[in-house]
Structures are given as C-alpha cells and as structure tokens.
C-alpha cells in the first residue's frame, strides 16, 4: 500500500489561481517563486556588497581623499566596511544565490518532483533570511555603527567595545548571522530530503545531474559544520551581554576558542559556497561542448571526499594564531590533500571540453572563465596550505587575492553562467547575447586586473585589513598596484551595467524562449518555459543519466533523461 505523505498539500489550496496576491507572489510556497525571491535578495545585497568594495578600493588607492558619492572614510569606518563587505558577500550574496536561488529552483525540477519536500519550510527559510538581512542592514544605522571585527569576528575585537567602539552593531551582526544559519539549516534539510526522497521513477542516485550532487553535499557540509559556530556565537553574545568570559584570558577563557569554533565552520563554509558554483559549471560545460561529462563517478566521489576532508583542514587559517605548533604539520597535510578532489573536478571539466563541439555562448564563456580563474585561486591555496609559506603570507594581500580568486569565480562566474543558462527556463524569454558577451569580457578582464596586482601587493609584504599604506615606509612603493586595482575595480563595477540592462530589458521585452533552447538533457528542460503548475503533469520516467550528448546513432545530438530509448534511437531501436 502506498504511504502517501501529507506534508504541505493538506493545507495548501489545490489550484494556483485561487490564491490571492500575497499568497501567490509574496508568501508563496512554490519553490520557483521562492528561488526568485532568494535571487532578488542576493542581487540587492550585492549592490551593498559591491558598493562597499568601491569604497574600500578607493580608500586604498587614494587614502585621505573624499570618495566621490560618499565622503571620507576613516580607519574605523574602513574596518566596518571590510567586515560588512565580507559578511554580506559570503552569507547574503553567495549563499542565497547559489543555494537558495539555483538550489531551490533546480533541485525539484532536476529530480522530477513538483516541489520541495517541505514547501512551507522553504518559504519560512526565505523569510528568515529576509529578516536576517533586515537585521544586518539595521546594524548600519545604530549608534557606533556596524560590526568592525572583520567577517571572521575575532575576539577581543568582537567581544569588547573597547577595541572597535562598536556596541549594538556587533550584537546585531551576531543575531543576523544566527538567523542566516537558521535559514540555511531549514533549507539544507529541505534540499537533502527532496534530493533523497522525491526522485522520480528511474532517477537513481548515479543518474542525478551533478548540480544536484553538489548542492546536496553542500547542504550536508553546512548542516554538520555550522553547529559549533552557533555554539561559539552564543558564547560571544553571552560575553558581550551577560558578562561571561568564554573568550577572555583574564577570566579563564581563551581567544583561540573563538578561532577554532569559527574556522571549524568557516572552512567547510567556503566549500558550501564553492560546490554549487562548480555544479553550475558542470551542468553548463557538457551542454556547450555537446559531450558527456568526463568522469561522472569520479566527480561524485571527489565531491563527497572534498566534503569529508573539509572538516579536517580548518586550522590552516590558524597557523600563526599561537595554537600548538605541532598542529601545523597535520593540517598542512590535510589541506594539501583536499586539493586533490578539487583538482579532479576541474580536470573533469577540462577533459569534457577535449574533442567537444564548443559553442561559446554566454553561459559557456562564464563557465570557462570560472574554471580559468579558479585554477589560479586553487593553486595559490596550495601555497598557503603549507604552514611554512603561510607563516609569511598569513594576513597579507596574498590571502585576499587567493580567496577572491576562488570565491569570485564560483559565485560570480558560476552564478552568471547559471543566470544566463537558466534565464530562459525561469522567465520564458531569451537574454540578449551581445550584452552578455560584453558583460563577460569586461568582467573577466577587469576582475583579473583587480586581483593580480593584489597578489603582488601581498608578496611585497603588505598586511591586509589596513586602511592605507602611506604610514609604512617599506610598503609605500606598492601604492601604484593599489591604484591599478582600484581603477580595474571601478571598471568591474560599471561592467555589471550591461548585465542589469540586459536583465531588465529581457524580462520585459526579451524574445520568447522555447522549452529547450540549449538542447540540454536534464529534466527541467522537458517542461514549459516558465514551468506551469504542477511542474510535471505526469511524473517523468528517467531512463539514463544527464549527459548523453553526441551519442552515435541517436536521432539528435542530445538525449533527454526522460526520452524512451525507442524514441531516442529511432523506431528501429539501437542501431546494430
């Protein structure tokens, strides 16, 4: 006897058109609407995150000047800016876009389900994030300003107002993060249950599109890593408000406790961000090379391996923290080990291109740009993973350039690849390819021109998180590099205008898209653009994996996952 699960369906109205405006567009429980809400939130927060990077870069290039459109920035404001830039970009841009946006939209469609396992929980998770964002933005306006401890919130900067002057701002920062964690915990549970339980008939785990694998792994990694930081954040809040001394040595506590708790989460967190970005690239590249993904199984195993390893590398952020020096070797070893699964994933992407019929449409350009730039980021990560190098490089601009060369590729190149790729599905219209190509080239070139100089600034010995170089005799000669980086950063920011124009224009006036404009195989391309309610009138039946491109003897150069073999190969069946 089938055990039908009553989840959201028992309370939700059956027919979409019966819902009022609020239930349909604002408090929707439809995963597709929620995904767009996440993406909108991410875009709005990106304006603030990007705006703060403009202020940071101008201050570094031309310190003690008044920044056009803003005013002067002093050292305290600078610390607040870099803190909020990092916090917003990681937690309120990257995660909502890659997990809340693409994950929510695509996981149900790709597994052949009509919605997530827990649609109302899904809505709650978005509105929790919305509340978190509101709290974080409120922190800009409280007395003594927003948090200024760095996104890493090291104590004692973060637990005593004495050092940064910040009072309420830091408390609100902690609360905003706590809400954000709650939001993604709820979302993560939803992703996992949907991906494991709601797969349609024939969709075995090894036929799942790689994006689903990577999103699920990211969800597991997040679920299991965030706990200790929640504990740590509670302790920090208690230190700040109830006079406890968890992190204060004169009270018996230890500042290093915070670093361990933060980075035990913080390191897996960057993989939580990176994996979905890779997932998008892994979906785009086979479509635009008209070739199956190279090494599907190896990519799956590498993803799982990377997820597991991510839990035992965290102290590579702490080589110079004063922790027991004997920990340096084991953590160096594990850090270098974790480069292997990521290398395998990148090699799989590159090998997929080999011999393929390359189609350089905008999604592909962004995916390739992401691969190329991530390679630089990944390799510099190997340098930093060795404790001997890190002792010199820790806290310098070398690290800043390294993590921008990993995060920016996965979030922005991966993210834009995803936007250009799935925009037709989400909105039923095509984006303008000319503006898209312009967007890519300006972004790609200017991004590299921002961060290559910063590698050199770091190698030249400049620490990070300082608001200007002129007080340091040994660093002054690096100033021209900062100026180059800032000019490039301004171009990078302005270079997003073609995208914004393209987005708005295409939403309103773009040419109508067909169901499957890219001739791709995954299940989302078998439904209307945009999908109707329910997603699938009849639950699809899956016969194969997602990467059957250019199969000899097939009728077309792509075979959708739900196409019966007789139809794929013509009436005669598989050719002999």
């Amino acid at each position: 006897m089938s055990t039908a699960i009553a989840t959201a369906a028992d309370l939700a109205p059956v027919h979409e058109h019966e819902l009022g405006f609020l239930r349909r567009y604002i408090f929707s429980i439809d995963h597709k609407v929620i995904a767009k809400q996440y993406m909108t939130l991410s875009a709005l927060m990106a304006l603030i995150g990007g705006g703060s990077s403009y202020l940071i870069r101008w201050q570094l290039a031309w310190p003690e000047t008044s920044i056009p459109g803003w005013g002067p920035v002093g050292p305290d404001n600078y610390n607040a800016l870099i803190t909020m830039h990092g916090t917003i970009m990681v937690f309120f841009v990257a995660m909502p876009l890659l997990l809340g946006g693409f994950g929510n939209y695509l996981i149900p469609l790709m597994v052949g389900a009509d919605d997530m396992a827990f649609p109302r929980l899904n809505a709650l998770s978005f509105w929790t994030l919305f509340t978190a964002s509101a709290v974080l933005i409120a922190s800009f306006f409280v007395p003594n300003g927003p948090a200024a401890s760095g996104w890493t919130g090291y104590v004692p900067l973060s637990d005593k107002a004495l050092y940064t002057g910040v009072t309420w701002g830091q408390n609100l920062w902690i609360i905003a993060l706590a809400l954000e964690f709650a939001s993604f915990l709820m979302g993560g549970v939803n992703f996992l249950v949907t991906g494991l339980n709601l797969r349609t008939r024939g969709m075995t785990l090894m036929r799942l599109p790689l994006l689903v694998w990577l999103e699920l792994t990211a969800a597991v990694v997040f679920l299991l890593s965030v706990g200790p930081l929640v504990a740590g954040a509670i302790m920090l809040l208690l230190d700040r408000t109830m006079g406890t001394g968890f992190y204060q040595p004169d009270r018996g506590g230890d500042p290093l406790l915070w670093e361990h708790l933060f980075w035990f989460f913080g390191h897996p967190e960057v993989y939580v961000v990176a994996l979905p970005g890779f997932g998008i690239m892994l979906e785009v590249i086979p479509v635009f090379a008209r070739k199956p993904i190279f090494g599907y199984r190896m990519v799956v195993y590498s993803t799982i391996g990377a997820g597991l390893l991510s839990f035992i590398v965290w102290a590579h952020h702490m080589f110079v923290s004063g922790m027991d020096p004997r920990l340096a070797s084991p953590f160096s070893v594990t850090t270098i080990m974790i480069s292997v699964p990521f290398a395998i994933i990148l090699f799989a992407m590159i090998a997929t291109l080999w011999g393929g019929s390359i189609w350089l449409a905008s999604p592909m350009l962004f995916a390739l740009g992401g691969v190329a730039t991530f390679l630089i980021g990944g390799v510099t990560g190997i340098f930093l993973g060795s404790a001997a190098v890190d002792i010199v490089m820790h806290g310098t601009y070398f690290v800043v350039a390294h993590f921008h060369y990993t995060l920016f590729p996965v979030v922005f190149f991966g993210g834009f690849a995803g936007v250009y790729f799935w925009f037709p599905k989400m909105f039923g219209r095509m984006m303008n390819e000319v503006l898209a190509q312009l967007h890519f080239w300006v972004t790609f070139i200017s991004f590299n021109l921002v961060f290559i100089p910063l590698f050199l600034v770091g190698l030249g010995g400049s620490p990070r998180r300082i608001y200007e170089l002129s007080s340091y005799e040994t660093l002054k000669h690096l100033q021209p590099l900062h100026i180059i980086a800032t000019l490039a950063a301004i171009v990078l920011l302005i270079g997003q205008l073609p995208f914004i124009i393209n987005l708005v224009y295409s939403l309103l006036r773009g040419p109508r898209s067909e169901r499957n404009p890219w001739h791709a195989n995954t299940l989302e391309w078998t439904v209307d653009s945009p999908p109707r309610h329910p997603n699938f009138v009849v639950p699809p039946r899956v016969y194969r994996d997602a990467y059957e491109y250019s199969v000899p003897d097939a009728v077309h150069d792509f075979i959708p996952q739900d196409l019966a073999p007789e139809e794929a190969f013509g009436i005669r069946g598989v050719a002999d």
């Binding site: 827990f118 339980n197 075995t204 299991l224 200790p228 109830m242 506590g253 309610h533």
Partner: protein
Amino acid sequence: MGAGVQPILEADEFDDAIRRIPPGKIGVWWFLASEIMVFGGLISAFVLFSFASQGAFAAAATHVQWRLGAINTLVLVTSSLTMILALGYARAHNLARTRWCLLMTVALGLTFLLIKTVEYTSEIREGFVPGTSLFWSFYFGMTGLHGLHLIGGIVVNIFLLVAALRKPAWDFLERRIEFAGLYWHFVDVVWIFLFPLLYLT
C-alpha cells in the same frame, strides 16, 4: 496532485530503500544531526576547559545542586517514556491514552523547567551568576540552551495535544508524534550528557 507534493513511490526495480522512509523523518534526523553539532561544540569546549582548569571547575561544581539535578534527570527520562507510550497508543489508535501520555510528557517537561528555575534562583541568590567564573558561564549557557530547546519541544507537544483533543487523522498524528518524539529524545540525551559533566564532577 495540484500544487502538492508527490507521494512516496511504490517499490520497483529502480527504487531504493531511502525513498521508502517518510520525508519528515529524514528531515528530523538531519535537523538533529546539526543540533548535535551545536551542543557538541559547547560540550567539547567545556570538557577542554575543564581539563585545563586545574581543579577550578571541580571546585565550582561543588555548589551545583546534584540532588535537584538527579530528580530532573528522572523527570526527563520518564517524559521520554511517556512520549514513546504516546506513540505506541497512537499507532494502536487509542485516542484517550495518546492524549494522556502527551499531557504527561508536557507536564513532566514543565516540571523540569520548574525545578531548573528553583535551581537558578537559589544559585543566583548565593551569588553565582553567568559572569562569576568560566564554570558558571558554561553552566548557565549550556543548561540555558538546553532549557530553550526543551521549551521548543514542549510547545510542539502542546500543539500535538491540541490536535489530539479533536478527532485526528491517525496517519497525520502518528507521524507527527514520531517526529516530535525523536526531537524529545534528543533533548533528553543532551541532558544525559550535561548532567554528569556539570553535576557529577
């Protein structure tokens, strides 16, 4: 199926064992996994500081009222029993007894909170507050977080009790009691870790 969620599929040659577990159950287990990491973080930090404290933690712990703690442990373990009984009676479709067991679970949970309040009050009166020393910071922090989780569990159980006071859909109620029971047992297990660490050192 309208705007709803697909039912669990029948077992067939392409099915796997995972898909036959109700989604809600898997969801609760994943949630519990993340909660284990939260308390795990606090408890590990406590244990490390305890080792490093050179007796300071043990000295502070002598002021903790182990008798009340032991009573509370009994109370909570019994409430886990009544929770399991509630599930058993729900599966047997015995409405009256299901209601009673849920009510007892809620009552025992509230009893725990009451005893905890008595403890906190006396400790604060004696001058032991969260800021007194690191041991007390952990004591109030960990038991406080546990208490908040217990309140959450009590609220959920009250909702289920209210549902059981009307004529429930058994399928729905059985499942929800099972999920709530998993969470309740988790809260109980956390206490079983906290009690020896805080009260019996």
